[in-house]
């Protein structure tokens, strides 16, 4: 199920815009879900959040650093800082800002990073339609690519490699931002090394057998 996340430090604002979003999604007959959250302490916390919650679109407030919650102090970054951070890993996730000051210089400087900048004064079904479409498209694309990725890994693991499969897998890994600790070529070398060692063991074994026969 596709999900949209609303990140805002102000509880009142967060709730009101979540209600609004849900209401309009319902009117649009969409089954996209809405989750809302106080900003996380560190920007890196979002990676886990996006992966676990399977978020397919993000809406943030620009001024994230003001408000606090009883157990959470105010954070030290803003929406325009966050978008840069999220984009490092999720290049294509739909990212929107919902702000009272859409003409704000800081937001305008990062205008290319956002998919859309929405004014809080003008947040109606029209805007939600844009968000819904982007979210659904990203979700579908991701689903398709994920299942392709799974098929490919299964195929490769079973040793059933066709020409170009490895390249396809690499491209998908890159697009889906699936972290790979070592490159495939490394693994190949490692296997070669391993085989070599087996060979030398084999030789020793042969030598031993010869000696024993003597």
């Amino acid at each position: 199920m596709a999900k949209i996340a609303i990140i805002d430090d102000n509880k009142d604002q967060r709730e009101t815009y979540a209600i609004r979003l849900k209401q309009f999604l319902k009117e649009l007959n969409s089954d996209i879900q809405v989750v809302e959250s106080f900003p996380f302490e560190k920007p890196s916390d979002y990676y886990g959040f996006i992966d676990i919650e399977e978020i397919s679109a993000i809406i943030v407030d620009e001024k994230l650093h003001n408000d606090s919650q009883p157990d959470k102090p105010p954070v030290g970054y803003n929406g325009s800082d966050l978008v840069i951070y999220i984009r490092e890993r999720y290049k294509y996730i739909p990212f929107f800002t919902l702000t009272n000051f859409p003409e704000d210089q800081v937001i305008q400087e990062k205008v290319n990073e956002y998919d859309y900048i929405f004014s809080k004064k003008d947040f109606t079904i029209k805007q939600v339609e844009i968000i819904q479409r982007a979210c659904q498209r990203y979700f579908n694309e991701n689903q398709k690519e994920l299942s392709m990725y799974n098929d490919l890994t299964r195929k490769i693991a079973s040793g059933n490699i066709e020409k170009g499969d490895i390249e396809k897998l690499k491209a998908l890994q890159e697009k889906l931002q699936i972290p790979v600790s070592t490159d495939l070529s490394d693994r190949e070398e490692w296997l070669k090394e391993y085989e070599k060692q087996i060979e030398s063991l084999e030789e020793i074994k042969l030598k031993l057998e010869k000696k024993l026969k003597k």
């Binding site: 009142d12 604002q13 030290g76 809080k120």
Partner: protein, 778 residues
């Protein structure tokens, strides 16, 4: 596989026997053949070198275009049309002149011969112009302007002939420069300016398309002024005129000229014929009719500029013959009265042209006096001199100095007569030799002559302006006259008493005294009222400015509440309409809307109560209560940013202006708010009030504002009260300033007015900044 010598020769012979000549193939083969030479080899040049050479030798596209115009100048053109059209699809740069043009031979053996310049052999053009370029690479800088170049030229001997160059073809790897074709063509017509009203028999037109760069308005403006500097504005030389046309900045589509010289206040000419040590001066000004002509000795001139003991000074002038012209301008409306110019135009002209330029053979030597060059503009260091002694003209000739932006000057030298003033190896500027220092001192001495003249005529200028006194000082003047008439009356009473005239009855004395006292009282009241009105006005302005600053900072909060109010109300409406209606959430949304509407209302009240009239008069107020009232109003904004705002300390009463206390406090709280927001985690602001008597300043009290922000860096502590200085940056460590830089300036001016003190330090507990305001207790 490489061909053998015999094979190549064979091929060449076959080609030569062909009825049509394949020039390209023959060239290729002969080049290959020459590589087989066992005794000698030759360099060959990569095509790309041409592009590098062109791009590296020229600073920017304006300079590249200027190089082409200089070529027109060297070709003895009288008129040059320069067109810059950037509109997509029709982009074109055109430089067209009625100069001598090029014959086919000139074109092939000259223009296409890179690095060749006939200017090296013929330093003067046919009409005696000193040629400007001599490296022979100006033409390839045209690559900077656009990808395609068409050169059409017309001469008496060869008629019209053209070349087509595609610069991009050179921008490939591994090709020899001669592998790339330059197409010759023979057009029927050429578009060049007329000569002396008739169709010119000679000339050159360069058309550049596929422009590399978009020209901005300031590029065009820069080009215009660079073009206007190409020929000296001082000589009434009309033999070189440039007509600029463009579609970027239409106001610069015109004949390049500089009529502004009519508006100069003073005009000075210095002549040194290159012999002896006498310099002839001619000085004219707008106010006197006569020309002041005098001869000054070099050494006398040096004493004037106090340079006699410096190492840079020589016994005699070594710089060779020099003519110097200086024009002095004022940037005032009076300067343009009676001319066709507007003051704004004059200022713009001065901004673009001010500076003293050196012209060698009537062409400006960069960077001297060019406003756009960083080091060359003020090569005489006039600005530094003015900064050291900024005295105005009112202080007389001794210490008055002009500023570089009031002067336009030209130093005329020539390459052949001023041999020691030679080009430095780096592309711009002259070698800083003894001759150069002499020239520099000569100019400085001449500026001193101009300053002396201005100081001498200054009383005259003042007199001509006296009628235009502004009304504020008129009032002061009236008060002055009234006071002096009272003084006169008292004097006369005094003499009467002193004369001890027995006849003087007491009433004779007392009546005028009474009258005088009455008049003094009236004047005093008037003065008092003027001053208190002004102070009151100042107080209101400070208060209004404070509201403005604080609104800009806290306004974000209000803005959020306004949009939340509308959206929550709308949500409630939608939720009720749903089937089934979601009443609980709708009510929660309406509650929220109500809460936020109150916030907006409170903010409106805050702004309105700031400048109430009764706060502007001096009376006993409870300081703590005043502070608490302001804090209460600002608390919601602070809380919305998770900032805890507390007031601590004792109740105390003092006679003062409530508005002043509020203005100081709001400005300090605004700063504390911004500072706190720069850090995450726990945020606190504390206002502390206490009595504090002080040995030197007497009885008093203070209130301080401390925060948990990043504090004020040591290097800024002395600067924060300067007007327009701001450390307020974007919350999460950006570098852009978002403050107005006025808050603390207001605080300081109020505290100074109240005879108080400001202490800035670090709060030991909150670890951020602490501003302590001490005020005398009345």
């Amino acid at each position: 596989m490489a061909l053998t010598e015999i094979e190549i020769k064979d091929k060449i012979q076959k080609l030569l026997k062909n009825s049509s000549t394949d020039y390209r193939a023959i060239l290729q083969l002969t080049k290959e053949l020459s590589k087989l030479d066992k005794n000698y080899q030759r360099f060959f040049v990569d095509a790309k070198t041409l592009i590098h050479l062109g791009r590296d030798s020229i600073k920017d596209h304006t300079t590249a275009l200027l190089e082409l115009v200089k070529n027109s100048y060297d070709a003895d053109a009288n008129n040059v049309d320069v067109d810059v059209f950037c509109k997509k699809g029709n982009d074109l740069i055109r430089v067209s002149d009625n100069g001598f043009g090029m014959s086919k031979n000139d074109l092939i053996n000259g223009w296409l011969h890179i690095g060749f310049s006939n200017k090296r052999f013929a330093k003067r053009s046919k009409t005696g112009r000193r040629k400007t370029g001599e490296k022979g690479i100006g033409r390839i800088s045209a690559d900077r302007l656009g990808g395609n170049l068409e050169l059409i030229t017309k001469t008496k001997e060869d008629g019209i002939i053209g070349l087509k160059i595609n610069w991009d073809a050179f921008d490939t790897e591994g090709k020899d420069i001669s592998d790339i074709d330059v197409e010759l063509f023979y057009p029927k017509s050429i578009n060049i300016p007329n000569k002396d009203g008739k169709i010119s028999e000679t000339g050159t037109e360069i058309r550049i398309t596929k422009l590399r760069q978009i020209w901005t308005v300031s590029n065009i403006e820069n080009l215009y002024y660079e073009l206007s500097a190409l020929t000296p504005p001082f000589h009434e030389v009309k033999d070189f005129q440039v007509e600029l046309k463009n579609d970027v900045a239409p106001s610069f589509s015109k004949k390049v000229n500089s009529e502004f010289f009519k508006t100069a206040e003073i005009e000075l000419t210095a002549l040194y014929d290159g012999k002896g040590s006498d310099i002839l001066y001619t000085i004219k000004d707008k106010y006197t009719d006569t020309e002041d002509i005098q001869t000054i000795n070099w050494k006398t001139l040096l004493t004037k500029i106090q340079k006699t003991d410096s190492e840079e000074v020589s016994e005699d002038l070594h710089c060779g013959p020099v003519t110097l012209k200086l024009l002095f301008f004022l940037r005032e409306a009076a300067s343009v009265s009676g001319t066709e110019f507007k003051i704004s135009e004059l200022r713009e002209f001065l901004d673009n042209n001010a500076g003293i330029k050196i012209y060698r053979d009537n062409i400006a030597v960069k960077p001297y006096g060019f406003p756009s060059s960083q080091f060359g503009y003020d090569w005489l260091e006039l600005a530094e001199r003015k900064a050291k002694d900024p005295a105005g003209i009112g202080r007389g000739a001794e210490s008055y100095s002009v500023t570089p932006n009031q002067l336009i000057g030209a130093v005329f030298i020539s390459r052949d007569n001023n041999i020691d003033l030679s080009d430095s190896a780096a592309r711009e500027g002259l070698v800083e030799s003894e001759s150069f220092y002499d020239l520099r001192n000569l100019v400085l001495g001449s500026i001193n002559m101009l300053e002396t003249h201005r100081a001498n005529i200054y009383p005259l200028i003042e007199k001509s302006r006296e009628t235009k006194k502004p009304s504020a000082s008129k009032e002061a003047e009236q008060i002055q006259t009234q006071l002096s008439s009272v003084k006169e009356e008292l004097e006369s009473i005094k003499t009467e008493i002193e004369s001890k005239a027995s006849k003087t009855s007491p009433s004779n004395i007392s009546r005028p005294i009474e009258k005088s006292i009455e008049r003094v009282e009236v004047i005093t009241k008037k003065v008092d009222k003027t001053i208190s009105d002004l102070l009151n006005w100042n107080r209101v302005l400070s208060g209004l400015a404070t509201i403005g600053i604080s609104s800009a900072v806290f306004g974000h909060e209000t803005e959020g509440s306004i949009s939340l109010f509308t959206n929550a109300t709308d949500n409630a409406r939608l939720l009720i309409r749903n089937s089934p209606p979601d009443i609980d959430t709708a009510i929660a949304e309406l509650d929220k809307a109500l809460r936020h509407s109150k916030k907006v209302a409170a903010w409106g009240a805050y702004a309105l109560t700031r400048v109430q009239r009764e706060k502007r008069s001096k009376k006993s107020i409870n300081i703590k209560k005043t502070i608490e009232a302001v804090v209460k109003e600002l608390k919601p904004a602070f809380e919305a940013s998770s900032i805890k705002l507390d007031v601590k300390g004792e109740l105390l009463v003092s006679k003062t202006y409530q508005m002043d206390i509020e203005s100081i406090l709001i400005n300090l709280l605004t700063n504390a708010y911004t500072a706190c927001n720069q850090k995450g985690g726990s945020r606190n602001v504390v206002v502390f009030i206490d009595r504090e008597d002080n040995k030197r300043d007497g009885k008093g009290y203070y209130f301080s504002v401390s925060d948990t922000g990043p504090g004020i860096a040591k290097e800024f502590q002395n600067r924060i009260f300067e007007p327009l200085f701001s450390t307020k940056t974007i919350a999460t460590g950006g570098s852009k300033s978002v403050g107005t830089g006025l808050g603390l300036t207001i605080v300081k001016s109020i505290v100074d007015d109240l005879n108080g003190k400001i202490i800035v330090d670090h709060d030991p507990e909150l670890k951020g900044a602490r501003f302590k305001i001490w005020l005398p207790k009345e």
